[in-house]
Symmetry: C2
Subunit: 159 residues, 2 copies
């Protein structure tokens, strides 16, 4: 293919803001993953408004429900993380967001405790930056999947 | 009296965030206006979350509907302000907020145009700071009214 053929549905799976998905679909196709990331950064930080940020945050499960990165957690740590996340949500009005990739549960818990005293507006922007990291990861998976799909179809075509 | 006897209703008229009004009512009574402002600043910037900020912003009329400070506006300037405000709301998802006290309509319009290119998160924080100025003005009126009411009741008592 050479260029991506993703639509709104795929971009909405990367980031739960409708505006983000629409703008990405308008900007598509992207010849490369870095070009998709560049467009995504511009859309997420400059075009999606604060309501869109909240919409995207609301599309995430509570951190206790995320199975990834929590496989090694003891019941005690998980319970503590669950309670800390509840307090976080009560203070800030949205779920604790962190790009959990490569981080252990105790690391995530420590980060949550470190960020908790922040002013709401400061934490809002940190959460948006974490969301951008998550978008990059998901876009990368999208492009990887597309390539392997392309390989697959090449294989099928060759067969 | 010496101390303020305001409740949630009066504080909600200063700022349309329910959380703000509740926290102010809990922190009341305030012996002086500066003490009320100090409490209000802490509550608005540190305790009201971003949803509460949006709730407070939504309680404001569109700037074209505000009669104060627009008395001297020509029809042309008013129309331009109205259109600029519509574009602003489309980009940011909330009404253009400015402490209009002492500013002419052309000054307000110039400020709107200057702020329009801002990133949504930057503009969100500027709007919150303008909201704080509005809160201070309204609190000041509340305290002034209370004093004149107190004078009035003294007058009535003396009569």
């Amino acid at each position: 293919m050479g260029t991506s053929v993703f639509g709104e549905k795929e971009f909405l799976a990367c980031c739960g803001s409708t505006k983000f998905a629409q703008e990405m679909a308008s900007a598509a196709p992207f010849a490369t993953y870095p070009q998709a990331v560049e467009a995504a950064r511009d859309i997420w930080f400059n075009k999606v408004d604060v309501n869109g940020w909240l919409e995207a945050f609301a599309a995430h499960p509570e951190i206790g429900e995320q199975s990834t990165a929590l496989a090694t957690a003891t019941d005690f740590t998980l319970q503590e993380l669950y309670e800390a996340n509840t307090r976080y949500r009560q203070k800030f009005g949205f779920v604790f967001l962190i790009c959990a990739s490569g981080r252990s549960t105790p690391e995530i818990l420590a980060e949550l405790k470190k960020r908790y005293p922040n002013r709401p507006i400061v934490e809002f922007e940190i959460a948006a930056k974490e969301q951008m990291k998550i978008i990059e990861l998901r876009l990368s998976k999208l492009f990887t999947t597309e390539e392997s799909d392309a390989s697959k179809s090449r294989e099928q075509w060759n067969a």
